[in-house]
């Protein structure tokens, strides 16, 4: 019995340390956000009041928050699974564009029977996302190209390619600013606000990735290559399978994220020619993955938090006049804060010195 309690304390510690780091980063981000509001003459207390009231104040607002969170938990997986395998896969942005255009191509331009249509559009989006991740993986394995460089380049190639496809081949006739909307048969059922059933698919994918990472041999190898490549090499694990798996899972998740904004998000059900309704979701995912401690389940909660900021930001803008994009700046600060491993020790040292 005592033994069990000890173990529980240990487990609690194992969770609380990373949680406190995430919490600290979030606090730093919000404080700097408040500081920025103060500097430019806004009222930060009212700002945050409306931000959080807007995001979590009522059931329908919370559903909207969940709708914002859906793609974010997926792009977070892309980064998180990369980190687990020792990679910095920041290619979610481009892979997500490919997923979005894939969903448009199947969901909007092809007629299929109901049921099959949704599945086909989703699967095709995931496939395109995974395919777009493949060059980075192969360049890494064959030529030792750093994935940061290759994924950044692939993001921009994807941006121009998808913009081209959206304008030249899949535009809605008479409405050049967006692509053909997904046909009713290809749409996920709406649950309320702009939330659709695609969130179940997303959470399902998060859980599958969790099981794959922590309950299978492949997942174990992947994490070993990430945490201790030397040990993995001595254990005879080639980096091929783990690295490829990591990139492909990331691509699938990002592809689904793109699709979720097309066939799972009213009222547009289509992709804007500027990519405005999907842009930056991939980069936001980096912050969410970090807040969620690069854990697929942690990412779900972090995504709901950040989805709340994104949705609540609009209320903040409406009532207090603060530009809603400030929440992206807050996310940036959170990312930078979480990049600093020495932050907690430094603060502790600083406090100790202060006490003396």
């Amino acid at each position: 019995m005592i033994f069990k309690a000890e173990k529980m304390v240990e487990n609690l510690k194992a969770i609380s340390v990373p949680l406190s780091r995430s919490g600290l980063a979030v606090v730093v981000g919000l404080l700097i956000g408040a500081l920025l509001m103060l500097i430019y003459g806004y009222d930060p207390i009212m700002g945050y009041y409306w931000l959080f009231k807007g995001a979590f104040g009522s059931v329908s607002e919370f559903m909207e928050t969940l709708a914002f969170a859906t793609p974010l938990m997926l792009t977070a997986i892309t980064f998180a699974v990369g980190v687990k395998a020792g990679l910095f896969n920041i290619g979610a942005e481009g892979q997500m564009y490919m997923g979005a255009i894939g969903a448009v191509a199947i969901g909007g331009a092809i007629a299929l029977p109901a049921g099959i249509h949704v599945a086909a559009a989703t699967a095709f989006a995931m496939l395109l996302g995974a395919l777009w991740a493949l060059p980075a993986a192969l360049l890494k394995l064959w030529r030792g190209v750093h994935e940061v460089i290759s994924t950044i380049m692939l993001n921009w190639i994807s941006f121009w390619l998808v913009t081209y496809l959206a304008i030249y081949h899949l535009a809605e006739p008479g409405r050049a600013e967006r692509t053909v909307p997904a046909l009713p048969t290809a749409r996920y059922p709406v649950l309320g606000a702009t939330l659709t059933a695609v969130i179940f698919v997303s959470i399902g994918l998060c859980i599958v990735v969790y099981i794959l990472l922590w309950r299978t041999k492949l997942g174990y190898e992947l994490r070993l290559v990430g945490t201790n490549p030397e040990a993995a090499r001595y254990a005879g694990i080639s980096s091929w399978k783990p690295v490829l798996t990591s990139f492909i899972i990331g691509g699938i998740a990002a592809g689904l994220a793109g699709a979720s904004q097309i066939i799972g998000r009213p009222p547009a059900w289509s992709l804007y020619a500027t990519l405005g309704n999907v842009a930056t979701l991939g980069f936001d995912g980096i912050g969410i993955a970090l807040i969620g401690r690069n854990h697929p389940i942690g990412g779900i909660f972090a995504a709901i938090f950040y989805g709340g900021l994104l949705h609540g930001g609009r209320f903040m803008e409406y009532h207090v006049g603060v530009c809603s994009e400030l929440v992206r700046a807050i996310n940036g600060i959170i990312i930078i804060t979480l990049a600093i491993p020495e932050l907690l020790p430094i603060i502790r040292k600083f406090l100790k010195r202060g006490v003396k």
Binding site: I90, L139, V145, L290, C323, L326, G332, A339
Partner: protein, 331 residues
């Protein structure tokens, strides 16, 4: 310290071939009766922020700090530059303020990386994400107008008339800076120490120089150059700010750095090639007879595809300084 000579030579050959191709292309246009001088003008304008950011990044990567947050610095310093120019009623001072703002960001980034032992890729990406949100916020907070700001025409930095068209003094400065940076890195003691700080920080430490100061200095300098480029985008080129003004130039600058293998002069040449490609994309989008055949989206894609080929080793393998991207911890 062994540098891969052959790779550098190969790179130089490729860049000369590209430049020659551009020259031939221009000659053909002239021959057909189109006016290519405008293309060179736009190319030089587009080159300037790329070159400044890329040369700065070459210096701080040589010292061992990889800053992929150039897109963010370009965006923020663009606003800072215009804000400064409006306060002091002078475009030139605006450029200076932009450079100072860039230096400050570079300095903070370096402190975070050197003393906070931050992960540089994550921190750089964080800087980019921060800027994407911070700039629209600033536009709203300072000028109370969403997403766009146009400043009085008189604040624009005036251009100089030359045989190849009207050229901004900042462009000439950028070329001079690239040459000076090359000399600085390879012909001065400080340059040697900066390179050593990225290659073998232990040796620098044993020799009695401070790795931390060197890295912070290089990063601040890199940030300042990038900031000059950011301020130039508004004050010397567009005449206004939109919230996504840099439109991926920070990443193209990164591509230039990769392309150059951290040599400032090659980075300048790469910046000209990529800048020319950008000008070409605008040109392709408007010229009748061409715009129907080649969608300009594909021209826009070219720099990134070329960079992928470069890193894949098609044009010579790139070699980072061996301690690049790693924090240095004294023992």
């Amino acid at each position: 310290m062994r540098r891969p000579r052959s790779s550098r030579a190969r790179r130089a050959v490729w860049i000369s071939v590209s430049l020659a191709a551009i020259a031939i292309f221009l000659y053909v246009l002239e021959y057909v009766g189109l006016q290519p001088i405008k293309l060179v003008e736009t190319g030089l304008l587009a080159m300037t922020p790329l070159a400044l950011a890329a040369v700065g990044e070459c210096i701080n990567e040589k010292a061992g700090t990889v800053n992929i947050g150039m897109e963010g610095i370009l965006l923020i310093t663009c606003v800072a530059g215009v804000y400064g120019a409006e306060i002091f009623d002078s475009g030139a001072i605006g450029l200076l303020i932009g450079a100072l703002a860039g230096a400050l960001i570079g300095f903070l980034f370096a402190v975070i990386c050197v003393y906070g032992l931050a992960n540089q890729v994550v921190a750089g990406m964080g800087l980019n994400v921060f800027a994407i949100g911070f700039v629209p916020f600033l536009l709203m907070a300072i000028w109370a107008f969403p997403g766009i700001h146009v400043f009085p025409r008189k604040l624009m930095v005036s251009t100089i008339s030359t045989p190849i068209g009207r050229v901004s003094p900042v462009t000439i400065a950028a070329i001079a800076i690239a040459i000076l940076a090359q000399l600085f890195l390879y012909k001065t003691l400080l340059g040697l120490r900066i390179r050593a700080a990225g290659e073998k920080p232990e040796a620098v430490d044993v020799a009695g120089a401070r790795v931390d100061y060197l890295r912070i200095f290089a990063c601040t300098l890199g940030g300042a150059l990038c900031g000059l480029g950011g301020a130039f985008m508004a004050l010397g080129w567009f005449g206004g700010i939109v919230k996504e003004i840099s439109a991926g130039r920070g990443y193209i600058a990164l591509a230039c750095v990769v392309f150059s293998g951290l040599e400032p002069l090659l980075a300048l040449a790469a910046a000209f090639i990529f800048g020319f490609v950008e000008g070409l994309a605008h040109w392709v989008a408007i010229v009748p007879g061409v715009k129907e055949v080649v969608p300009f989206y594909f021209v826009n894609m070219a720099p990134y595809i070329v960079t992928l080929l470069v890193v894949a080793g098609v044009i010579g393998k790139r070699r980072f300084p061996s301690a690049s991207g790693k924090p240095y911890i004294r023992e």
